[in-house]
Symmetry: C2
Subunit: 333 residues, 2 copies
């Protein structure tokens, strides 16, 4: 496998800059083909890098000093326009100008999405670039496409999501003939809102994808489909229900475990096995979400990411480049 | 509290007619003010009723013979039009003609919704009659409005849902000044799809409700809002994510418990406490979902309901009549 370069926004996310930089050190250690450009206040980033054992791989790192930071509360379009020397915009421009193959950030989702579309730009023919996280299921993972900032999709958008999602699951996740389903309120073709009713027959007729029909939200976690197509509003609701219901279940389990002496003893015997199982079901553990349909790879990592997730997100860029995902999308769209 | 009569569709749901009839017997035993009309094949219904100890309260029951059944796979509009002698249509007509105060069924959601609108009819001024289940949260329950069959809402629909939901939570669930929120993809006012962006300022300006702004799907289970307003497509996704993620968590817990001898022992010590906690979080346990905005009360009970849920659904009709919910909605809309 060949060399590749990732531009990492070291000021994005709740744990910046410490965790992104620690993640960079981890990734460099595990893959000798990786080169990194770290954007952020150079002195601070260098210090954290060296304090965490990055020194031995410093020859594969460029430190790119930046003076501004985009906060999550800022209006994305305005922030991208104004903060030209932010760690996010500088990293994106490095990708745009071919100094890096991919961009990774845990910063403001809105800013990543706007930056991806306006700085790096869409592949010609792609109408909208969706954000497509991998979500855990009982069978493995599925790709939920779109969870981005572009609401009120049209059928053509969903058709392109289906196609791009299929390419991703096939090339990156190595799933043969990935099953594509559209989120709906029932299994029957005549069900749904206007968007789904209009899109359904077009998906059915679309060559090159394995469309299996509607999927009800109840069946998503069971893993019936590999590519789950929906409008970004619905995708956001699905992703956040994963989180919300998950958190509530943790609270309920905790309450049940702390009820009395007997349950506390039982808890001690089961807790590590339970944690291990439940961890598999945390959507934030599956690296970053790729933004598909752009000229270069943009990966949005969960805001609360720690070093391990940054490292995973960085390393997944290799396969994306090797498999020529953007080139394949360009040919097929 | 006064007398009231409920028309029960004994052929609706996965467990019909046994569970609806057993539920009827339970409800009659627990409330002497209740009168029931049971629709379905009379001989069979009578037999189940008597076999399950209904005999002592037979004086408060009318058996209304019907010869047809609407299946869940049928097209709702066609089924309602054609099957005039179905248990569902006959029961609805009894409510329409004032022989009963309320209708309860676990049958096809589509048929209940269509029948509610076309047979019983909306309160003048109400544009759409939403289906509004109570959903469990960490703090108690919230009303999710709309989960019905009417997709592609307009702002006026959501405004009416907010108002009807507030009345319900105040009068029936006894919540002072219930907090109303709209489902959105972020907390900020400028976020959302077209529908939410257009509705938000109108909800803010609507007198007589306690609008607290947007709620992200992640925060629904935490119980931040009492009335959760959304389009029916989104409501359906939320409700079914509750189910799906819940089922998956059960599977994961089971797997963790069965891992080895130690975890099996721990499971034995914690299982009853855990079941007790998790049961609270099953949306199907909260009786039936009322369809609001109709001239009379229509309650849709979960398809898999057992006797206990039928009984709860029947008994909740009393409060609805006592509190004059339909009359209050008619005045306020």
């Amino acid at each position: 496998m060949g060399k590749y370069t990732v531009a990492l926004d070291c000021m994005g996310g709740d744990n910046a800059p410490i965790e992104p930089v620690k993640g960079a050190v981890m990734a460099l250690k595990s893959d000798p083909d990786l080169n990194l450009i770290l954007t952020g206040p150079e002195d601070e980033i260098r210090r954290i890098f060296n304090e965490n054992g990055g020194g031995e791989n410093a020859d594969r790192v460029t430190f790119q000093n930046t003076t501004e930071v985009i906060e999550t509360a800022e209006m994305p379009t305005k922030a991208i326009m104004k903060k030209k020397d932010s760690s996010l915009v500088v990293a994106m421009n490095l990708v745009k100008h071919d100094s890096a193959d991919a961009f990774v950030s845990a910063g403001s989702t809105g800013a990543v999405l706007v930056g991806g579309q306006t700085i790096i730009g869409r592949i010609p023919g792609v109408k909208r670039a969706p954000l497509a996280p991998l979500i855990p299921t009982e069978k493995g993972v599925s790709l939920l496409i779109d969870c981005g900032a572009n609401m009120d999709s049209k059928p053509i958008n969903l058709l392109q999501f289906a196609r791009m999602g299929s390419i991703y699951m096939n090339k990156i996740m190595k799933i043969d003939n990935p099953k594509v389903a559209i989120v709906n309120v029932g299994a029957e073709e005549e069900k749904g809102n206007m968007l789904v009713k209009e899109t359904f027959p077009q998906l059915k007729a679309l060559p090159g994808i394995n469309f299996i029909g509607s999927i009800e939200a109840r069946d998503i976690t069971a893993g019936y489909a590999d590519v789950i197509v929906c409008d970004a509003f619905v995708g956001n609701v699905i992703l956040k229900m994963y989180e919300g219901v998950g958190i509530t279940f943790f609270h309920l389990i905790k309450k049940a475990y702390l009820k009395n002496l007997k349950t506390k003893l039982g808890a001690a015997l089961t807790i590590s096995s339970l944690k291990e199982e439940l961890k598999k079901f945390d959507p934030s553990k599956y690296g970053g979400a790729p933004m598909l349909g752009l000229k270069k790879l943009v990966v949005k990592t969960h805001g609360s990411s720690k070093a391990q997730e940054f490292s995973t997100s960085i390393l997944q860029c290799k396969e994306f480049k090797e498999q020529k995902i953007s080139e394949t999308v360009a040919e097929m769209i």
